[in-house]
Symmetry: C2
Subunit: 211 residues, 2 copies
DNA sequence: CCGCATCCGGGGCGATACTG
DNA sequence: CAGTATCGCCCCGGATGCGG
């Protein structure tokens, strides 16, 4: 990116990560951990492959990611965040927090979705306010992706994964799942959104804001 | 900006404020308060005038700024952040915090500077750890700009302005002032950087990290 | 002087095709 | 799997003009 030519911390930061797609690449590495080139392509629907390659080169030069050649027989390249790159997490968290109203407004026509994108919004909305009770594990089937919601000791976490014996199951479109989890739509009305919940409804109440 | 087409909070946020210059316009309005078009141009050296006009239109449409026609006889337009726009402050704070190392590295050749850009870095570094002592007011003469550093009741604030009877005065290049305030360069060595301090040195120690 | 609109050249970006 | 190559377009940068 062409520099803004301003001796200002925010401008200098944007000199490095202000290019199109750059922060979203960091998002992928933050949410999914180490990624192969193909994983990144899949997590960044719409990016042109030459742009992804160019951004990865720039991010490596800037010391934000590191490229690691996995040892044989797994001949492949893995991209991981450096410490400096991981330090971008608060930036993306705040950006995501600010962007939540646009998710609540619903997806635009043709919007793509990946399950792990829900992690920050959901962790934002939910809160385990019965930390002494036994842990909960809820299976989320959102869009095409399987996610796991873990709540234990006051912390709520969302990660990709599948559960064979979940304490409860919530499935539906990304919009519907978000609406239900956030408590914006009561569980009883979830069906109208196309979302289905099976399990003890008290489990969800443990996590949702008391409002 | 062309949408990323992703149903993700961070991507949606970047759809709105990811355009070049956009976040820096918000920075100006956060740091300086309401601004006229010309104030913004001055605070954003390098921006093309058509781009500024276009961004302001987009930001207005997005509900991030509001345009206010000042009543006669002050025939002029004032741009101010809406509540939604002011909610971007944490994003810019984190971005600025992450960018501080690039300021510590020193300005690039030809970098422009405005005094108010120092506000976040300085408030980041300093901390009034003698909140019960009487307030301090230090005059900063940084580059061409006059700034005021207020410390009172545990809070440190930096704002544009001039003091006739400051408790102390610090002047020098932006780089030197930042180096001295952050404590990275001891006050005794400030002269070598071209910075001059007059007043009780204990005043600064009250604000700097104990390290 | 303030707040733009217009015009134009160059480069970043998007989409697709192709390759070791 | 991990990119490179190519090409068209549109965004951006810089200059200038212009009405209120």
């Amino acid at each position: 990116m062409r520099s803004y030519g301003e001796y200002c911390a925010a401008a200098k930061a944007l000199d490095v990560v202000g290019d199109r797609w750059t922060l979203l690449i960091v998002r992928e590495l933050l949410l999914r951990g180490d990624c192969r080139y193909t994983d990144l392509r899949n997590g960044l629907p719409g990016i042109a492959t030459n742009l992804l390659a160019e951004r990865l080169r720039e991010l490596e030069r800037a010391g934000i990611i590191a490229r690691e050649e996995a040892p044989p027989p797994i001949a492949t390249t893995v991209f991981r965040l450096t410490e400096r790159g991981a330090a971008l997490e608060p930036v993306l968290q705040e950006l995501g927090r600010w962007g939540i109203p646009y998710m609540v407004a619903g997806p635009a026509d043709g919007d793509e979705f990946r399950g792990h994108w829900l992690a920050w919004p959901v962790e934002q909305f939910l809160d385990d306010h019965e930390p002494r009770n036994p842990p909960i594990r809820i299976a989320l089937r959102v869009g095409e992706d399987d996610m796991v919601l873990d709540a234990a000791e006051g912390r709520v976490q969302v990660r990709p994964g599948h559960l064979d014996q979940p304490d409860a199951t919530l499935s539906g479109s990304p919009y519907a799942v978000l609406a239900v989890l956030s408590g914006r739509v009561p569980l009883d009305a979830a069906g109208e959104l196309g979302a289905t919940f099976s399990g003890d409804k008290a489990l969800l109440r443990r996590l949702q804001p008391k409002a």
